[in-house]
Symmetry: C2
Subunit: 140 residues, 2 copies
Amino acid sequence: MSNLELPVLGQDDAVACCSPMVREPLGEEAAADLAKMFKALSDPVRLRLLSLIASHEGGEACVCDLTGPFDVSQPTISHHLKVLREAGLVGSERRGTWVYYWVLPAALARLSSLLQTPGGTAPSLQDPAGTAARTAGGAR
Amino acid sequence: MSNLELPVLGQDDAVACCSPMVREPLGEEAAADLAKMFKALSDPVRLRLLSLIASHEGGEACVCDLTGPFDVSQPTISHHLKVLREAGLVGSERRGTWVYYWVLPAALARLSSLLQTPGGTAPSLQDPAGTAARTAGGAR
DNA sequence: GTCTTGTTTCGACATCCGTCGATACAGCGA
DNA sequence: TCGCTGTATCGACGGATGTCGAAACAAGAC
């Protein structure tokens, strides 16, 4: 239920960088596909889980390592991990008693490159149309 | 209600790149702050709106340019634009009869750099702990 | 086989979110 | 001033989402 017409980046090919959304309008299907990934990142618990997994030694973490730092119940953690997994952001594997999760870097890279502004990763606030002044303040 | 202890990137300083979430676990407050931005991106209509604005000539677009391509009503578009604005992803300004929106590149760059994997933008599927085989398949 | 521990699934519940039509507000032009 | 067009806000509604406790499932230990 996705990637119908555009090659989904970062599956097993190297990530073809990128057609950032700044360059051309996103198609409906691409937007729906990407929105699912961003939705998976739109919860603080999941964001911390992902970060906890990614920064864990060895690049992977057992569920038992992940339940401690949070105030929510263990089934809730399991639910969030499932959301991350179904979004294609992490992989998982059972090894004996424990289940391990790891981040799929290609998925993160796909999102990262999408959001890149033409100027580069850390833009010097590049200025699309002489709008630099507004860029800082932001009308409201 | 955010950035209490960590310097929020991409405000008016150049974006200090980045402490990606892969490097160290996200704090609770940083996660809550970032989750709001990702939530703004978690809807297909908003994603397309953002892309439409960013790719519009001059780097900005009038609301009247944005209602056409969508099947949803004008109030709904207005609502989504408000969400994007309150998330700090776009700026807006009224000019006479029309209201213009433009993307705030620093905000996108902040998210982009957060998601970057250590290997770079388009990672060669860098392999945290000899888990390359799994990285491709993804257990389920 | 049975117990124990680690993890997921199942229902249930309250809240949030996207959408709409109706309406209000802002500028411009006649 | 009045009317017109463009945009935002309001209130309502239905569906999605985060959370929980209870229970089921998986694997190893006794």
